[in-house]
């Protein structure tokens, strides 16, 4: 038999799908509580621009060619560029613009072509308060999902860029954390690049490399996080794969799983590629990792109705219950015996099964236990 599976795609079980939906509902609630607007984005990006924004990374894009216009385009590689591109084409933009998104990004990553993300972008403000807000929103969102023990790791895109000074070898050494290669160039300063610590003194050496601005920003952000009870540490040797970052960059870890669940940073020059000029910052949550660690409890449905009446009283009862806000499914398989219907219904997560026979209804709470009452009486019991 032929298989319809594609190696890079991601399948979600119904339990995982339900969790994705619950996560989205939480995201909507938390992001909107901070005054963010939902932005629904295109799946496509012009390939020319993917090359400009992602550099080498654009090779990972899943691309197409329009046979009429001969233009190449790719599936969106991430949300930040797509948000900035979209905003740059919107009329009546009032800065700062706060938006959130939810959906998939695509790349030829051998571990999976599609990745689910949700996140926020804060466009049009350059102060560190904006960076703090983004971290705060994302942390609150993760907390709302029941996650504790979160830790923000702070870095700054300007540090490695300045220290490496476009020396390819050194940049590579940074991204591989090749301590020996780093030591050759940096000598004992190497310790500042490999220690991940909350101690603000690790920032002092930044002055030696004329990185006062970076130092100030990281200090200020650390103070804000401290004030709001968000745990953090500095990791000054970090290199992020996205070349468009210009300022503070961060990742939010969950300590029990040891995984980064969200990340982002400042990208003040990205909008120039689209002919605009506004500072911006943002961050995304890696939902696949959340799916790995969050419990997958599917909310139960209320009633499964088996209609044995000629007058279709069961169908009508189901409608009445739905009007009352209940979640109600109907038995539609005719040739199935009652026992099998009951087992099916409880397996499917219905709390009760209603067997409707003329004026009476048998209310099953397990495949074996039921109480009998008149339909009228039953309805009176429903609030």
């Amino acid at each position: 038999m032929k298989t319809s599976l594609i190696s890079g795609e991601r399948f979600y079980s119904l339990e995982e799908s339900n969790l994705v939906k619950e996560i989205f509902k939480k995201a909507v609630k938390i992001f909107e509580a901070f005054g963010y607007d939902y932005i629904n984005l295109s799946h496509f990006e012009p390939y020319e621009f993917q090359e400009l924004t992602f550099g080498e990374g654009s090779k990972e894009a899943i691309t197409f060619k329009d046979s009429y216009t001969k233009e190449s385009f790719g599936l969106r590689l991430d949300f930040t560029t797509q948000v900035v591109r979209t905003i740059s084409h919107l009329r009546n933009v009032k800065l700062p613009e706060r938006v959130y998104y939810f959906g998939k990004v695509f790349s030829l990553d051998r571990r999976g072509f599609e990745k689910l993300q949700t996140g926020v972008e804060l466009i049009g403000e350059k102060s560190i308060l904006a960076d703090f807000e983004v971290i705060q929103v994302l942390t609150e969102f993760l907390k709302s999902l029941g996650l504790k023990d979160l830790k923000v790791i702070l870095s700054h895109a300007g540090i490695v860029r300045k220290v490496a000074d476009e020396r390819e070898e050194l940049l590579r050494a940074f991204s591989e954390r090749n301590l020996e290669a780093l030591k050759e160039v940096l000598g004992n300063d190497i310790k500042f690049f490999v220690e991940v610590s909350k101690n603000p003194e690790v920032l002092n050496f930044l002055e030696k490399y004329d990185l006062e601005k970076e130092k100030e920003e990281l200090l200020e952000l650390g103070k804000l996080l401290e004030e709001f009870g968000i745990d953090y540490a500095y990791d000054l040797g970090e290199v992020r794969n996205f070349p468009y970052y210009t300022g503070v960059i961060f990742e939010i870890y969950e300590l029990k799983s040891g995984k980064a669940l969200a990340g982002g940073g400042r990208y003040d020059n990205l909008s120039k590629i689209y002919g605009k000029e506004y500072p911006a910052t943002g961050g995304a949550v890696y939902l696949e990792r959340l799916l790995d660690i969050l419990p997958k409890n599917v909310e139960k449905k209320d009633y499964f109705v088996i209609d044995k009446t000629k007058k279709r009283l069961g169908l009508k009862l189901a409608d009445v219950l739905r009007e009352k806000g209940k979640k109600v499914g109907m038995e539609i398989v005719k040739e199935r015996g009652l026992e099998h219907s009951l087992i099916y219904a409880f397996d499917k997560g219905f709390k009760e099964v209603l067997l409707v026979e003329d004026e009476i209804v048998k209310v099953y709470t397990t495949p074996k236990d039921y109480v009998v009452m008149k339909i009228r009486e039953f309805l009176d019991l429903i609030e």
Binding site: L179, Y253, L255
Partner: protein, 214 residues
């Protein structure tokens, strides 16, 4: 507790010797049927050398001892912290002596190897079109029976080559064992990893033992 993936086979003994010498473990651990060992407050996983980056990249292991050959071949998304200076060998192209001239004059050759990615990159850079046969072992057999013109493989002493009448034709690179780290672990367990590192690089009678490398 920190978790370290160790390669079974030729690198195992050398790695254990190093860990003992640096006092990271006090009791020798043996390669046997048991795949999870605990010693010196560290959990060791004993895995096939080419699987080390899989365990480390996924985060199942925080650290791993990985041959540079394996690192180059797999290009895992991990940190490559330091050269341990053990397990030295060469990655080289070898073939029958009479094929040497063909190697330098042909535009199209065939190569058998356990390292298809290294081979692909190497010949691409040279601008030579190479048909690559991916093998899992006994690579030396390939040129003898006419599967390929050449092989690209690890060369330690050169004895296996000699016994099969093959010679090294061109060196591709050198390989030693590296300490690699999971990127998340590096940040979240930074204290423990730095402690492990500082013991590895501590000075001893021989002076600073960390060697430079390619």
């Amino acid at each position: 507790m920190i978790k370290v993936a160790l390669p079974k086979g030729r690198l195992f003994e050398e790695t254990v010797d190093l860990l003992l010498k640096r006092g990271i473990i006090e009791k020798r651990i043996e390669e046997g049927r048991k795949l999870i060992l605990e010693e010196g407050g560290i959990t060791f996983f004993l895995v096939k050398p080419s699987d080390v980056p899989v365990y480390v990249e996924s985060g199942v292991s925080d650290l791993g001892v990985c041959g540079y050959d394996v690192y180059l071949e797999k290009k895992p998304s991990v940190y490559r912290l330091m050269d341990l200076g053990i397990g030295f060998c060469r990655i080289a192209v070898a073939g029958k002596p009479e094929s040497e001239e063909k190697y330098f004059s042909s535009t199209h050759i065939s190569v058998a190897t356990k390292y298809p990615n290294i081979a692909y990159e190497f010949f691409k850079k040279k601008g030579v079109k190479a048909d690559i046969y991916y093998l899992n072992g006994s690579v030396e057999l390939a040129p003898l029976v006419g599967l390929s013109d050449f092989i690209l493989d690890l060369v330690q002493t050169g004895r296996t080559l000699k016994e099969n009448g093959l010679i090294v034709i061109e060196e591709v690179g050198k390989s030693t064992a590296w300490l690699i780290a999971n990127k998340d672990s590096f940040r979240i367990k930074n204290g423990q990893i730095m402690e492990f590192l500082s013991r590895l690089v501590q000075h001893n009678k021989d002076g600073l033992q960390v060697q430079g490398s390619s």
